[in-house]
Amino acid sequence: MKAVWVFALLLLAALIGLMMLHWGYDTIDWDAVRAPPFSPTHLLGTDSVGRDLLARTLVGTRVSLSIAGAAALVALVIGTLWGAIAGWVGGWVDALMMRVVDALYALPFMFVVIILMVVFGRSILLVFLGIGAVEWLTMARVVRGQVMQLKHRPFIIAAEAAGANTRQIMIGHILPNIAGIASAYLLLTIPQVVMVESFLSFLGLGVQEPLTSLGILIKDGVDDMEIAPLTLLVPIAVLMTILVCLTALGERLRDRTAT
């Protein structure tokens, strides 16, 4: 349960932490450019243009997590629909839909996302739509497997015999039974998306300045690490905490809901 508390703390800090700070993420403090950590006005110091590192990290965490949450939701919706239809209909529809998933799996998806970024411009909305559109594959496979198992269970057959139509069965009987495993994979998708987003932002292809994200902070930290290693280490620590906590949580939830 430690993972839950650590992550909850991080989330809380990202959500309300900025209100306690005097500085915004893009406010420049001309009197304290490159302030060292633990200086009176800046707890973690400032970066090379005098922006408060703590404020930037909090906002970066918030941006990274919101993109990840939104993209994971997109992945959840596409993946669940795709997987449920394939699993429920079966036959050649299933075969065709799953071949599409296999084919997309074989693509090196980082490059797909980068090409999407090049083609459709680098807006924050497209960053997460693009990532979500690529990250739904695992979800589709898992949901399809679950639906195929459920389809032949007695309570579904009973519902069919009682005259329920497909929509009622889907909403009333199938969805509640896949909700657990789907939310586990939702949790596991978030760290994946955080990684992709940080990767893109690190290269300058994701979130754009002056808005910030963990990837941009790491990139800025790399440029500055000779003078101020903390500008690199703080965002890396936050990123790794998010990845470890969410992966641990998701895996525990998955193991609990696995049948």
């Binding site: 090409i115 083609v119 411009g121 290269l203 690199l232 890396i236 990123l239």
Partner: protein
């Protein structure tokens, strides 16, 4: 064996064609053009530019021409690096990336298989646990985190190795390690898992009954079939090395393909991005072919 190679190379043709077609269409679909800048071009100049790059022809003609040129290793002029053709840029970048990736692959395989063997030699003991934990950590660490950390530790704090640049052997060390680490972790885990499966087989029991030393049982009898999962990881490993290389060439300032790819993506240099994507696709197809050949060599039962 030869017929397998030929068959696989033939099926690679439609795949590559699809990659070329898709990237071509996507690039043409893109809003905005490489000639967009702060200042609006006057229409005559724009027309002249579009004419010079053949952008006013119908799409099918453009694609036909592009395909024809690609088959002759001509990817067109770069739209951002004036005076350079994309092929010239690729010819400069590819050897650098191949050297980097090749060294990383050798290092990753050596470390990974070595680690996996040691872990399997001492199952459930501390070497096994230590290697298992390290491998998990390495595979989870993204390259844009591990590379800066390595630079910070060995380049800046200890001052042992150069931080960035390209040229002589010391420049190669940190990037190769950074690129190899996640792949090494994955190979170690796969080797360990493969060995623990094979070690339960009858042939291994027979070898052990003949009194061979545990290490010899592993290296002579168990290792070869246990490496089948590692071989099937070659395809994903190639993709991982390529994505890793993009980050690592950027961090270390190495003039390889990956850096051109990022620069091309940032500048919307369509011909350059397309050339790199096509090359990457070809490399991944090639690695998958190697994986199939390695299967047959490692496990005669799948030759069929």
């Amino acid at each position: 064996m030869l017929s397998l190679i030929i068959r696989r190379l033939l099926t690679a043709i439609p795949t590559l064609f699809a990659v070329i077609l898709l990237s071509f269409l996507l690039m043409r679909l893109a809003p905005g053009s490489p000639f967009d800048s702060e200042r609006a071009l006057d229409p005559a100049t724009r027309m002249a530019l579009e004419h010079a790059y053949g952008l006013n022809e119908p799409l099918t003609t453009q694609f036909g021409q592009y395909l024809w040129h690609v088959l002759h290793a001509d990817f067109g002029p770069s739209m951002v690096y004036r005076d350079f053709s994309v092929s010239a840029l690729v010819a400069k970048g590819l050897p650098v990336s191949l050297l980097l990736g090749g060294c990383a692959l050798v290092l990753a395989t050596t470390l990974g298989i070595g680690g996996g063997v040691i872990a399997a030699r001492f199952p459930q003991l501390w070497p096994d646990r230590m290697i298992g934990t390290t491998a998990t950590l390495l595979t989870a660490l993204p390259s844009f985190v591990s590379a800066p950390l390595l630079v910070l530790l060995f380049g800046l704090m200890l001052g042992w190795l150069p931080v960035s640049g390209w040229g002589d052997a010391p420049h190669l060390i940190l990037p190769v390690i950074a690129l190899a680490l996640p792949v090494a972790g994955a190979i170690a885990k796969l080797t360990r898992a493969g060995l623990s499966d094979v070690m339960r087989g009858d042939n291994v029991r027979a070898a052990r009954a003949r009194g061979l030393s545990p290490m010899r049982v592993i290296t002579r009898h168990a290792l070869r079939p246990a490496l089948v999962p590692v071989a099937s990881y070659l395809g994903p490993a190639a993709a991982g090395l390529l994505t890793g290389a993009v980050v690592i060439e950027t961090v270390f300032g190495i003039p390889g393909l990956g850096r051109y790819f990022v620069q091309g993506a940032l500048n919307r240099d369509y011909p350059l991005v397309m050339a790199v994507v096509i090359l990457y696709a070809a490399l991944i197809i090639l690695f998958n072919l190697f994986a199939d050949l390695a299967y047959g060599w490692l496990d005669p039962r799948v030759r069929g």
